[in-house]
């Protein structure tokens, strides 16, 4: 190898390129090693989340495309992480602490609505029996004021119950009794 000091001579340029390549290779190995470590240790959240999302969306697509599945039967056969299946409605029975009746757990919330006074009948019942304004549902007793809302309330307790309350609040402004 010539020991020439000129920059243009190819051995010198070759040598510099060689060392530059050397440095670059070391840096590349470092980067590869770092990425490998992050991947293996599962530190890259994005990678996992995307994988999980992809898996879930393909699963959901399969379930949706399958014509034999209806929503109700599906929930009965879904298995949780312990391998247990649960019925669509919780079926444990206990006693209501308000009225003392035996209630099924899955029907407890709607029962409480009626029992504790959110429903129409309970409201009317409470209004008639207590004359004070302590009971917030006793503001307006005439059923006629609430008729457009209460009709729907009686038929469907769950979803229109909230509509009934909203309607009640609106009309209360006008017909509030001291």
């Amino acid at each position: 190898m010539s020991a020439s000091r000129e920059d243009n001579t190819s051995p010198d340029a070759q040598l510099s390129s060689h060392f530059f390549g050397d440095l670059l290779d070391s840096i590349i190995v470092d980067i590869a090693s770092e990425c490998h470590r992050i991947a293996k240790l599962g530190l890259d959240r994005n990678l996992e989340d995307e994988e999980e999302e992809l898996r879930r969306s393909t699963q959901a697509r399969v379930r949706a495309a399958d014509p034999s599945n209806s929503g109700e039967t599906n929930s009965k056969y879904v298995v949780d992480i312990f391998g247990q299946t649960h019925p669509a409605v919780a079926n444990e029975i206990f006693d209501c602490m308000n009225c003392g009746r035996s209630i099924m757990a899955g029907r407890f919330a709607p029962h409480l609505e009626k029992c504790m006074g959110k429903g129409r009948k309970a409201r009317l019942k409470a209004a008639r029996s207590s004359t004070t304004a302590q009971n917030r549902y006793s503001r307006g007793s005439p059923a006629s004021t609430y008729s457009p809302y209460s009709n729907s309330t009686s038929t469907n307790r769950l979803s229109n119950g909230s509509t009934g309350v909203a309607g009640e609040d609106l009309s209360n402004g006008t017909s509030e009794e001291p």
Binding site: L15, S16, F19, I27, I28, V29, C35, H36, A39
Partner: protein
């Protein structure tokens, strides 16, 4: 003592001294001993990070890992994935600067 016909002779200590280190090896040793190699490496690392080259390489790695599955990837795979693109995409000013510094060092040492 019986000698196996096929067994090569044990290398003597004397034989090693006959091999002369190449110029490359000499310069490499000087680079390392003077600490210049470390400095150059840090400089190059910094430059490549600033210009986004490192992020590009990491993105290539992540894409490859996602495709192959993270439990099927070796470091070697990743090195082979990013080496060609990596060598080709070093920005010219960065490369020129480093080459200049190396040449300066070579001239000071030879």
């Amino acid at each position: 003592m019986r000698h196996s016909v096929n067994r090569p002779p044990t290398p003597d200590a004397a034989e090693d001294e006959e091999k002369e280190p190449t110029l490359q090896e000499i310069i490499n040793i000087k680079l390392i001993e003077s600490g210049e190699k470390e400095r150059l490496m840090e400089l190059l690392r910094e430059r490549l990070t600033e210009c986004g080259w490192k992020d590009e390489m990491k993105a290539l790695c992540r894409a490859f890992i996602k495709k192959k599955g993270r439990n099927n990837v070796t470091v070697d795979d990743l090195v082979h994935v990013i080496t060609p693109k990596g060598r080709a995409s070093v920005p010219d000013p960065v490369k020129a600067d480093l080459l200049q510094r190396i040449r300066t060092f070579l001239n000071s040492v030879i």
